[in-house]
């Protein structure tokens, strides 16, 4: 057999998977297929530095590629459209069939969109490099931006747009920004800090109508108000790209359900021994916290899961046992908005209680998050060393 490892998804997860295969001694063929036309790149700057750059340059975000993976075959602008796991092949847009011994599913997420159809050129989402380029052209002094959603991406875009001179309004059904990750108390003060920078919040509200003749001129909100704007940014979360896997005895209701070793779970019982999920698309149990499978949309997960899966696959070819049998990553996240450097470890959103443990809540500070008295997360504004020092306590 010479089909080797096939990876669907040519972003960070696919790249790190290829590196891990080589690092752990797999020397066979690696073929990577991705729907985007770009080689792997780093997405976090898309809402921050890259989005405020005068000239948007792909080289700024491209991942450097190492000599160890020089013989990996990259197939870009080549989306997988179907899979037949029993017969060990996938189908690429255009109809080509590709056989595999091991399949790694790293197809990631796409932006959720609001249901509007009018003014498509004035409505933006932010997930890809091309998205960032399109949005960048709308930002500048005097531009009026409405951002729907109040998660990390929404707030980062709001901060960047404000710094570029835009008038920025955030519209969100939540009570306060980033409250899922920051908890009620911390998000309430973060909201005040963002307001002090000039961002206007319309919380517990939704956009119900777009208003304008040729171009977008305003949005009507569910609270009865109207906000003038020329650009609408839809930052309402993501959904997993796994429809192409339908018909394969899998659970793809919210990402690809995987077991504790990241192998795809068969709906009829057991797991596919040679099919793995990597990155945001994988829904897996994490024994650091509990047995509930979850997708984790944090930047460190593609890298950590790719390293783990690469080692599993390489070990199977070399007839050795992988050193780690169960994937148990510690999620970490960060966000930079104005003078706030937010940094978190663990899963604060599982908590039933939070308490201030360091600093002053009106400024830089650290919160501990517990569930039934057990530490599940820590989030700080500033004080990065204090947050980092929780790592071993959280990893348990």
């Amino acid at each position: 057999m010479s089909e080797g490892v096939v990876v669907v998804g040519a972003s960070m997860g696919g790249l790190r998977l290829a590196e891990s295969l080589r690092r752990f001694g797999y020397t066979g063929p690696v073929r990577i297929f991705g729907n985007e036309g770009h080689p792997p790149y780093n997405r976090p700057p898309l809402s921050k530095d890259l989005l405020s750059a005068a000239e948007i340059d792909f080289a700024e975000v491209a991942f450097p590629q190492r000599s160890a993976t020089a013989d990996v075959e990259w197939n870009l602008s080549a989306a997988a459209v179907a899979a037949d796991l029993s017969n060990q092949n996938i189908t690429i847009s255009g109809g080509e069939q590709v056989s595999f011994e091991h399949l790694v599913i790293a197809t990631g997420l796409r932006s959720k969109r609001l249901g509007f159809e009018s003014f498509p050129s004035d409505r933006h989402a932010l997930r890809s490099f091309e998205d960032a380029k399109a949005l960048r052209s709308k930002l500048g002094v005097g531009r009026k931006i409405v951002i729907v959603g109040s998660g990390f991406i929404a707030c980062e875009v709001a901060a960047t747009a404000t710094k570029l001179g835009c008038e920025v309004h955030i519209v969100s059904p939540s009570k306060s920004p980033m409250d899922r990750a920051l908890g009620e108390k911390l998000s309430a003060v973060v909201k005040l800090r963002l307001e002090a920078q000039g961002i206007t919040f319309h919380m517990q509200a939704t956009v119900i109508e777009l208003i304008g003749s040729n171009r977008l001129e305003a949005v009507a909100l569910s609270d009865g108000s109207t906000v003038r704007c020329d650009t609408l940014v839809e930052a309402i979360g993501s959904e997993a790209n796994c429809e192409w896997l339908a018909g394969n005895d899998l659970d793809i209701t919210d990402g690809l359900l995987c077991d504790g070793s990241l192998r795809a779970v068969r709906a009829s019982g057991g797991s596919w021994p040679n099919v793995f999920g990597v990155g945001d698309v994988a829904r897996f149990p994490n024994p650091i916290f509990d047995a509930t499978p979850r997708r984790i949309e944090h930047w460190n997960i593609p890298t950590e899961s790719a390293k783990f899966v690469g080692q599993q696959i390489a070990a199977s070819y070399n007839s050795i046992e992988a050193t780690v049998e169960v994937f148990r990553p510690l999620p970490s996240f960060w966000s930079d908005q104005f003078d706030m450097h937010i940094f978190g470890l663990g899963m604060s959103y599982l908590a039933d209680e939070s308490k201030l443990v360091h600093g002053d809540i009106s400024g830089d500070c650290v919160f501990e998050f517990t569930r039934e008295g057990v530490l599940v997360g820590v989030v700080g504004i500033g004080h990065r060393s204090v947050v980092q020092n929780y790592r071993s306590a959280l990893e348990r």
């Binding site: 530095d49 991942f63 450097p64 190492r66 460190n300 970490s332 004080h383 990065r384 060393s385 980092q388």
Partner: protein, 63 residues
């Protein structure tokens, strides 16, 4: 020997690298990143891991 460079314009001092390559990187008392610019070849794996986990992709091996 491996030569290391951190782009301090990009670095946001998150310290993720510290856990992958503690002999190379540390956060000082002011929460700022400090690093040694040269390392033994045996550190290559740790340094590559540190490069991978840097959210800002600010760490480079200089050829």
């Amino acid at each position: 020997m491996i030569k290391i460079n951190v782009d301090m314009n990009k670095c946001q001092h998150y310290g993720q690298c510290v856990f992958e390559a503690p002999k190379i990187f540390k956060l000082n008392e002011d929460d700022k990143l400090e690093y040694v610019a040269t390392a033994d070849d045996s550190e290559l794996g740790n340094i590559e891991a540190a490069i991978d986990v840097c959210p800002m992709q600010a760490i480079f091996i200089v050829d």
